[in-house]
């Protein structure tokens, strides 16, 4: 208890330092955020939404907001480790949550498109910001303490604005790297707005330079207008001692299509919250997740999909593989409002326990107020399919290799949805690397 209060006070004190050095269009928002932050408490296991995850290890630490620490940089070679072979991208590199133009490539998009660093734009006092990202209404609904912590220290993040009809030819690869400094708080604040008929793909990659204990607390706001199309791949492969929290909000208008992947490998404690508001007809929303845990990792995925208008589809598939003492958590809710007739909503969570000490908690939920809908959910927990294991072994394949094949088989329906082939390869590789299993 004392930890929590001290921890909260620590951030409030740091805010006062931050405030004096930070004057921009977001100052009012930051102030609002810290005021709200003060009135809340960090969640405990008594909170229904946090009942399965133990965040005490996170709250024991006082992390220093990176905007208040000395700037650090990393070598180009380090960054190149993360590039995808034979894939042409626009690369944006953030070091400890702060944009680094030297490590980034392909930054020129002309004057209508905004792509790059939030901080740069803030410094230029670009007046478009406020309008494009609906700054005034931000935080109105939000009571998430981590979201508020991020917004209070709002400083930098990846920004993307595509005007009507803009189609981006290659993916954005946004690499967020945490450097060797211990106890840093990195808080990217990503804002993405696709106007009607535009199209983009973004790979968000969160990594650490060393096995440090740092805290990455992200806010990502995504708004996709009519008929626009967005793919987001979020890969989290941070230090095994890191803490990682992301709050993502997705707002979709008529006939928009979003595919969102949340692929979690690293960090000691991971919490991903995704809220998708389907405020339009014929919307298509796809949420995919993979979470791989070993040692004593805890990975907690919370998703909330709200169908507001008729005729939209949502499709959710989250898969977990848990080894050693790892704990995997899935909590997903589909809310169908009464106007949202003809909704199709499917949700599935499957997990495999590879060790007899691993734990899986699953809470798939449906809350439905419209009668003419097709909604279903399912959840399974178990071990690898024993019949399939026998089949593979009966062809002479040794046990460990057969298991690896079944791991690949298990995650296949998520991985195959990744439309960038190079990324698919990389993910397949990362899975076996992370689980320390034989690759074939």
């Amino acid at each position: 208890m004392k930890n929590r209060i001290d921890n909260q006070k620590w951030y409030v004190d740091n805010f006062n330092l931050f405030k004096s050095s930070n004057k921009n269009v977001f100052s009012t928002l930051s102030n609002k955020a810290i005021e709200k932050f003060k009135t809340l408490e960090f969640p405990t296991k008594k909170d229904e939404e946090w009942k399965y995850i133990n965040i005490n290890p996170l709250l024991k630490n006082n992390f220093l907001p990176s905007s208040l620490s000395a700037n650090s940089s990393v070598n180009l070679e380090t960054i190149e480790e993360y590039t995808l072979d034979n894939l042409d991208v626009y690369r944006f590199v953030f070091v400890n949550g702060i944009f680094n133009s030297e490590l980034s490539t392909g930054l020129d998009f002309g004057k209508d498109i905004i792509a790059g660093s939030l901080s740069n734009l803030l410094n230029k006092n670009d007046t478009r910001l406020e309008k494009l990202f609906d700054i005034k209404n931000k935080l109105q609904k939000d009571n998430n303490i981590f979201n508020l912590l991020n917004t209070a220290f709002l400083h930098d993040g990846f920004l993307l604005y595509l005007p009507k009809g803009t189609i981006i030819d290659k993916p954005f690869h946004v690499i967020n790297i945490s450097t060797g400094n211990n106890k840093l708080l990195n808080q990217p604040h990503n804002l993405i707005h696709l106007e009607s008929n535009s199209k983009a793909e973004i790979i968000f990659e969160y990594v650490s330079e060393k096995a440090t204990e740092h805290f990455t607390n992200i806010v990502t706001e995504i708004s996709v207008d009519e008929n626009a199309n967005l793919n987001v791949y979020k890969i989290q492969n941070e230090s095994p001692n890191a803490f990682h929290i992301e709050n993502s909000n997705i707002l979709q208008k008529n006939s928009s299509v979003v595919k969102h992947f949340s692929l979690s490998f690293g960090a000691l404690i991971t919490r991903n919250n995704i809220n998708a508001e389907l405020d339009g007809e014929n919307v298509e929303n796809n949420l995919y997740g993979l979470y791989l845990g070993n040692k004593n990792q805890q990975i907690d995925n919370h998703t909330f999909i709200e169908h507001i208008k008729p005729n939209s589809n949502s499709n959710e598939l989250y898969k977990g593989i848990l080894d050693d003492d790892a704990k995997g958590i899935f909590s997903g809710k589909i809310l169908v409002q009464k106007e949202a007739q003809k909704t199709n909503a499917f949700q599935s969570n499957k997990s495999v326990l590879l060790s007899n000490k691993a734990i899986s908690d699953s809470k798939p939920q449906l809350e439905i107020y419209a009668d003419d809908v097709k909604c279903s959910h399912g959840a399974t927990v178990g071990k690898l399919d024993q019949e399939a294991l026998f089949y593979i072994r009966s062809r002479g394949v040794p046990l460990e290799l057969a298991r690896s094949m079944l791991i690949r088989a298990f995650i296949d329906d998520v991985v195959k949805e990744i439309s960038i082939e190079q990324l698919r390869e990389k993910i397949n590789h990362t899975i076996f690397q992370h689980l320390k299993r034989v690759e074939f």
Binding site: E387, R393, S394, M405
Partner: protein, 252 residues
Amino acid sequence: MIKIKNLHANVEGTEILKGINLTVNRGEVHAIMGPNGSGKSTLANVLAGHSAYEVTEGEIIFDGKNIIEMEPDERAREGLFLAFQYPIEIPGVSNSIFLRTALDEIRKHKGEPELTPKEFLSLLKEKAQILGMDTSLINRALNQGFSGGEKKRNEILQLLMLNPKLAILDETDSGLDIDALRIVSEGVNAYKSKDNAVIVVTHYQRLLDYIVPDFVHVLYKGRIVKSGTKDLALELEERGYDWIIKEQPETV
């Protein structure tokens, strides 16, 4: 090739096999027939080492070694092959990667060098041709979305590729139309040689028109109750199993 002595096996505590004795020599084809529930598939699975079945008594001597304690993959590397009645779908693992892995393991076990990708591919194409298989199937995920016939054909492709000493075909004819049945049988016949052996487990005689057995055994309530030549299969086709069952003492 294989000598099964007084084999007893349980599944979930119920005894299914109650003392099987069977010897199959090199170059022979044996058919195991019998009514539903007689233990035919259990026998096939026990020979391949399925962990759901517990062997309580008896021996399985395969090529001079007792394989009872061996894991399924060890048995496979020793040269025992089971064509499944219901081949399993494995998404995300391509047919060719799977076969390549299995073949490499078996060759390694035999002390043979691994095939180069080129050698592997040409071998695969050659065998696929025998079965009239479209090469596109080779790059698809193992059995995923395959029709019943395609799955069975794929089993035989694996048989031809892995070229084991003993092939056990578990109801390979089930779910096949007449053309597919012929092609699959041709595949098995292409495999057959004087150095290997085949055990055909089947309910119906029709498969045996194509894969001609040297011996036919009738399995009933976990025991072989009658053995004969291929004529026995024809007789069963004509008269059914009832007459054999009636010959059995009540205690069976």
